[in-house]
């Protein structure tokens, strides 16, 4: 479950060269961009049926925050 989420997240942000961890601040990844944000929103919706408003998304900081969002 966790690993699958990491893989999907890496694909959404297009991270090829490093691992992702729960405590990472995802906006600080060198691959981060406004399109990565859109890809994550789409991924959460398609894979986990989770819809997050932009205002809400702004509050999420870490990979762990994203992971918690799909537990609901």
């Amino acid at each position: 479950m966790e690993q699958k989420f990491f893989d999907l997240l890496k694909e959404a942000i297009e991270i090829e060269d490093h691992d992702v961890n729960m405590e990472d601040q995802f906006r600080e990844y060198p691959e981060w961009s406004s399109l990565a944000y859109l890809s994550i929103i789409a991924m959460l919706d398609e894979e986990y049926d989770v819809q997050i408003e932009e205002a809400e998304f702004k509050k999420l900081r870490t990979v762990g925050d994203l992971y918690n969002a799909i537990q609901k």
Partner: protein, 257 residues
């Protein structure tokens, strides 16, 4: 001896060419192979693809697959397989396409569906697959969409074909913005008329009188597949490293007047 200066070299580049079994795509395959590229050739015409493989240089080094590009799952499979075998991709020529001359009153929704599927969707989704994480070279590279003079200029009976080619023209612009981050350049090319199987039975080529008119519209006469293949070499090579989001017109002066 020092290596000869050649800004157009395609050495060490894996290039995907769709529509490689015929016409311009075939010539692109031949020319790119001569420039040192390793090729991944896609087309649904098996016999034509075989023939292309006999015409390219170092035939055994290349990869080819018979595929209908509308079979998107198979496209993914084949591209993954090719990348595993040959390494990552540095270039893509979206050359596959079909044409028609059809008056407004004869068009049906199904006609548009078919043309958009084959000319627009297949190029778009092949591009999506080639750009998928792990498939494209980390150094970046070049993608070319085949638009047409008919994508920006009018001709009776060319509304459907022209719409699809206009779509590819605009597609290249936005993808150029989106993919620049990965150093992937995206351009379109707009050929004038070149006699190939795509148009040899259409009125503007098949009817001798109309063909004369078509020829007269091209200041330098009709073109050859080589004229387009050479332009593609430029767009694929590092010689065009500062060129993205542009449309290269190669039409013998057709759209000048």
């Amino acid at each position: 001896m020092e290596k000869q200066f050649n800004p157009f070299s395609l050495n060490d580049k894996n290039i995907v060419i769709s529509g490689a079994a015929s016409g311009i795509g075939r010539q692109c395959a031949i020319t790119c192979s001569k420039m040192g590229a390793k090729l991944i050739l896609l087309d649904l015409n098996e016999a034509g693809l075989k023939e292309t493989l006999q015409l390219v240089e170092n035939g055994s080094e290349h990869f080819s697959a018979v595929i209908n590009l509308t079979d998107y799952n198979k496209v993914e499979e084949i591209i993954s397989f090719a990348v595993e075998k040959m390494g990552r991709i540095s270039g893509l020529l979206n050359c596959a396409g079909i044409s028609t001359t059809l008056p407004l009153k004869n068009a049906k929704p199904e006609t548009l569906d078919k043309f958009f599927q084959i000319n627009v969707y297949t190029a778009y989704f092949l591009t999506q697959t080639v750009c998928k994480m792990g498939n494209f070279s980390k150094e970046g590279g070049s993608i070319v969409f085949f638009s047409s003079a008919a994508g920006q200029y009018g001709e009776s009976g060319k509304s459907i074909y022209g719409m699809t080619k206009g779509a590819l023209y605009s597609c290249a612009k936005s993808l150029a913005c989106e993919l620049s981050r990965k150093n992937i350049r995206v351009n379109s090319i707009s050929p004038g008329v070149i006699v190939t199987p795509i148009n040899q039975n259409l009125p503007h080529i098949a009817d001798p009188e109309l063909r004369k008119q078509t020829e007269a519209l091209h200041l330098l006469g009709l073109g050859n597949p080589e004229d387009i293949a050479n332009a593609c070499v430029y767009l694929l090579s590092d010689a065009s490293r500062w060129v993205t989001g542009s449309n290269l017109v190669v039409d013998g002066g057709y759209t000048t007047r």
